[in-house]
Amino acid sequence: MLKILYFAHLREALGQGDENLPLPSGVGDVAALRRYLADRGGPWHHLLTARNLRCAINQEMARSDSAIADGDEVAFFPPVTGG
């Protein structure tokens, strides 16, 4: 099972802040997970089109080719704007 989190405008666009998802077969890295989620259609397309979307795996910044494994916490969010 993956725990997936969405923040800021992405959370608003998707209408949800988190979900639990059994690791889809064939999804081994961040890029593949993004495509898998975007294929849900509708607002999920944001996962491919959002500018500069960032991803963290287990609360560490990740890249498109970072590996995803069962049990991971994966978060998608826009560039940060705190401070």
Binding site: A8, N52, Q59, M61, A75, G82, G83
Partner: protein, 150 residues
């Protein structure tokens, strides 16, 4: 070294008292960020700060630890508020205590510059023209990157 995320306001004088009494400290530099009433020509009525519980604390602790490796500092403190804030409200405090002022200034500016690009916080502004998520600034990215050359 201490990192806190909270909804409540803070009193900088009281927070700096945490450093007080260590006779090695010769310099304290503190930065406070506040909500301005305008941004990109829009009038700000209110702001909401969202964060990523867990990761935000880790990211801030990593930044503070990095500052401690780069400069000779004795103590450091980061407080960041979340939730609803209004113009003139305090958003964030960064404070660094060191023997000498150069390290305290550099480490303080490093921490806030890195926080702006590496700590997962997001600002949503309510302006007179409606609500909008604040976009990341190119200047913040530049301010953060210049430390790579230091």
């Amino acid at each position: 070294m201490s990192v806190r995320i909270q909804e409540a306001d803070f009193d900088l004088g009281k927070e700096l008292a945490e450093f007080h009494g260590d006779p090695r400290i010769g310099a304290v530099v503190a930065f406070v960020g506040l909500v301005r009433d305008s941004n990109d020509a829009a009038r700000i009525l209110e702001m909401t700060l969202e964060h990523y519980p867990g990761m935000t604390e880790k990211a801030l602790a990593a930044i503070v630890s990095e500052a401690g490796q780069r400069w000779s500092i004795i103590d450091a403190l980061v407080i960041h508020r979340v939730g609803r804030l209004r113009p003139t409200d305090r958003i964030v405090a960064v404070a660094v205590a060191a023997e000498h002022r150069g390290a305290a200034f550099d480490a303080g500016e490093f921490i806030i510059d890195q926080l702006k690009t590496r700590a997962p916080f997001w600002k949503r502004e309510l302006t007179t023209a409606g609500a909008r998520w604040v976009e990341a600034r190119e200047t913040d990215e530049q301010a953060s990157e210049r430390w790579q050359m230091g």
